[in-house]
Amino acid sequence: MREVAVIAYAQTPMTRDAGAQNEVELIMQVVHQALDEVKLNQTDIDFTCSGSCDYLQGVTFAFVDGLNAVSSVPPINESHVEMDAAWALYESWLKIQMEEADVALVYGFGKSSPGELRSIMTLQLDPYYLAPLWPDSVSLAALQAKAMIDNKMITEESMAKVVKRSRKNAKSNPNSQLSGDFSIGDLLSEPIFVSPLRKHDCSPITDGASAIILATKEKALSLCRNPAFITSIDHRVETAQFGYRNLTSSPSIQKSSEVINLSDYSIDAAELHAPFSHQELLLIKELQLNEEVSINKSGGVLAGNIMMSAGLDRIGSMFNLIKSGKVRTGLAHATSGPCLQQNMLIIMESKNE
């Protein structure tokens, strides 16, 4: 295996509505910021990979337009995943393992403001059994939260605690969309949105983009003072049918934890991709994270959720913590689907003495 590290990360401010800025303009900011951070040009990049969802723009092959944000002449080696950009990072990591690239650029983008995000995400569900009924993402997540409450795994109060910590941590994240100090009482006095979820239990609707640069060990150490090495990485998918599985557990997370030998690491911090407050509690349980692990220092996705880039942002947020020396060994998690159907786990480490 080749040693691969994250060497640069950039993210736009997470906003409810980016207004007239189009996707290309959002991507261009972060691609240039990431390249400038390590003093590289697009010609130094061996492989470029993006993650996005064409349904958000409502046009097939809309992602191709995103390439206007990078210089694609002379022709570049490029790919795209119709998934969160965390999976574009996985593809790039594979390209580097295959020795087809030494340096890779990964970007993700999502402009969710123009449509009704809850309904648009329904189009990603099974087209025969589920999508024709139009179950929306908030309702499906609410079903999972309700099942966890019925099983006495969580309470509305424990969900509010997740929101309180997210907004508090987000105060030190300049890009966050939602931050501040809230009391549990204030949060619980908010009206129910889709029972048992209140609006603050759901990640906000966000416009934005982000980019990461990956490099082999040799390049990483010459370009970045404290790169975050990807020590272990794994991703798994569960059944697409919500009724086939127990929504209060995650077999894919359990399996991935085993594959990456999670219990062998002393994890300082975790960045968890939990678009709904109860999912953070489910992830902590399935990952068996103890109270010493600092969770979502960035505020997590409840403080800002760039659709199709929020998973990559977890990896980027962990890179920021490692690069600044605040964390030595961290866990980043990315997900896809309203009930955590698909998951990726990454162990990231500093190699500085």
Binding site: E116, R118, Y128, Y129, L140, L143, K146, S195, F242
Partner: protein, 146 residues
Amino acid sequence: MSDKEILKADFELGFTYTRSTGPVIGHFLTELQKCKIYGIKGSDGKVIVPPAEYDPVTGETLKEFIEVSDIGKVKTWVWVNQPLEKHPIQAPFAWALIQLEGADTNFLHAVKVKKEKIMKNNMKVKASWALPPKGNITDIKYFEPI
């Protein structure tokens, strides 16, 4: 230019091909046209409804269809106070995971009741059919308590 001079034509955005749903999903949808619900036997012998082409755990190809009831029990539910435009019921309703009699897995569908208070775990519900059925999951309009 007056309105009369402007040429107009209907335009429907759509795909100019049809796609087969295959022997498993196709069987389920065909039986829905007879107001019957079929599941399939999984690797562990449990009945999966709606039928899966491959076992969700072992990945084994599944073939043995089993008819199940259109009556079942609500296992988990959530209340939607403000239905979205595309939702199957345009009044407050519940989404529910329903275990049909004869099935070992849950089936996601809408439950029509007037008030949230009526909804309970393990309550009995029955499918209400859209007639004539067309071979689509929406042939079941929703479930209602019995």
